[in-house]
Chain length 209, copies 2
DNA sequence: CGAGTAAATAATCAACGAATCGTTCAATCG
DNA sequence: CGATTGAACGATTCGTTGATTATTTACTCG
C-alpha cells in the first residue's frame, strides 16, 4: 500500500521538476524513468500514460488553489461583498503570477485541458462551490438577496471568465485586468445586492415572491 | 476613381468567394488574380497584401453587424434593459450562426485578429459605442443610474466576452450559451438599475453625489 | 503474485530538400 | 506616362524519410 504510494509520489515529484523546468513535451518518459531509478515500462504500473501524470499534477495545483480560495469564506470580519472581492482578485493575481513566473505550466495546462475537457470542468466546479457559499453567506447576512446561489455562482464565473486564464484570452497587463475586474465586480455586487431575479430557467421550481 | 474602385470591389468579391469556400490559407494570390482576369502582381496595386484583403472583408462584416446592433437603439417601445437584452442576444446569435454556417470565416477572423490586434479593438470599440448609448438611454429614462456610461459599456463587454466569440472560448451549444447569457444579463441589469458606483478609477474626476 | 525489466511496436517528431506562395520590380503595353 | 505584366526572389509550407518516443507485451526475479 504505502510502498506503492511512495513510488507513485516519487514519479510525481520527478515529473513536477522536469515539467516545470523543461516543459511537458520536452521531457520524455525515459528521463522520468531515470530520475526514478526504474525502466520506462514500469512507469505504466503507476500511471496509465504521460498525460495522466500531468493531469495528476494539475489536479493537485487546482485543488490547492481551490483550498486557498476557500479560505476567504472563513477570514473573520468581512462582508460577503468583500469576500467576493477577495475571491476574484486572489484568483486573478494567483493565476497571473503563476503563469508569469513559470510559463512552462501554461503548456501543460493547455495540453491537459485540450485533451481532457472534463478535467477543466472539475476545476471550475471546485471554485464554483466556494462562490456559491459566498453568495449564500450574503443572503444570510441580508446583504444579498439571490434566489438561486448555485446559479448565481455559475453566472459570476461566466462573467469573470476573462480573468480566470489571464494571458490565455488577452494580452493585457495585470493592472489593466485588475481595473476591469474591479468594474465588473462592482456591477456584479450591485446586482447581487439588488437581488437580481436570476433563477436558472431550467429549474422550473416556481420561485414565487 | 470609379474604375479603380470597381476593380477594388471585384477583388474583394472574388476573395470573399474563395475565402468562404476554401479558407484563407488555402487560396492563393494567383487564384485571386485568375478570378479577376489580371496578374498576381497587379493585385498589389489595390491591396498592400493578402492579409489586407482579409482585413477589408472582416471590417465590412464587422461594421455591418455593428450597424445591425445599432438598430436596437431606435426600435420603438423598448426599455433600456430590453435594448441591452436585444443587443447581447443578437450579438450572440448572429456570430454563433455565422461561425456555424461557414466555419471558414473562423480561420480568417483568427488570422486577422492574431496578426492585427488593433483591428480587433476597432471592432470592439464600434460595438462598445452602441452599448454606451444604451446605458445613456437608461440613465435618461431613469431606468439606470450609472455615473460613467462609457466605463460601464467596457465592463459589460468584459463580462460578456464569453458570448462574443462563442465557439472560440467554449464548445457549448447555443441553448446553453443563451441560458448563461440570460443569467449574466439579469445580474448586469440589476447592477445598472441599482446604479452601481462603477466609475473608472483612472478618471479621477471626482464624481460627488 | 507483485514489482520490475527489456525488447518490440506503433505513433509522433525533426530534419531537410523540393515545391509553393506572397511579394517585388524591371520591362512592356496601350 | 500610367497601367499591367510575368519573371525573380526570399520566405514559408510540404512531403518524405529516419530517428525518437510513448506504450505494450513477454519475460524475470523474489
Amino acid at each position: 500500500m504505502t510502498v506503492h504510494d511512495d513510488t507513485h509520489q516519487k514519479i510525481l515529484d520527478a515529473a513536477k521538476r522536469r515539467f516545470m523546468h523543461y516543459g511537458y513535451s520536452k521531457t520524455t518518459m525515459a528521463e522520468l524513468a531515470v530520475d526514478c531509478d526504474m525502466s520506462p515500462g514500469n512507469l505504466y504500473r503507476y500511471f496509465a500514460g504521460k498525460l495522466d501524470i500531468a493531469e495528476s499534477i494539475c489536479r493537485e495545483a487546482s485543488t490547492q488553489t481551490a483550498e486557498d480560495l476557500g479560505r476567504v469564506l472563513t477570514t473573520p470580519g468581512r462582508t460577503a461583498a468583500q469576500r467576493l472581492h477577495d475571491f476574484l482578485f486572489m484568483d486573478l493575481r494567483e493565476t497571473f503570477h503563476k503563469l508569469e513566473e513559470d510559463p512552462k505550466i501554461v503548456e501543460m495546462a493547455q495540453i491537459v485541458t485540450a485533451e481532457r475537457p472534463e478535467f477543466h470542468n472539475e476545476g471550475l466546479k471546485r471554485e464554483r462551490e466556494v462562490l456559491s457559499r459566498i453568495v449564500e453567506l450574503g443572503n444570510l447576512s441580508g446583504e444579498f438577496n439571490v434566489p438561486d446561489p448555485d446559479f448565481a455562482a455559475e453566472m459570476i464565473q461566466a462573467a469573470t471568465l476573462k480573468f480566470s486564464y489571464p494571458q490565455l484570452f488577452t494580452r493585457l497587463p495585470l493592472h489593466k485586468l485588475e481595473r476591469e475586474l474591479e468594474g465588473v465586480y462592482q456591477i456584479l455586487v450591485a446586482g447581487l445586492r439588488a437581488g437580481c431575479a436570476c433563477v436558472d430557467p431550467e429549474k422550473k421550481q416556481a420561485v414565487i415572491a
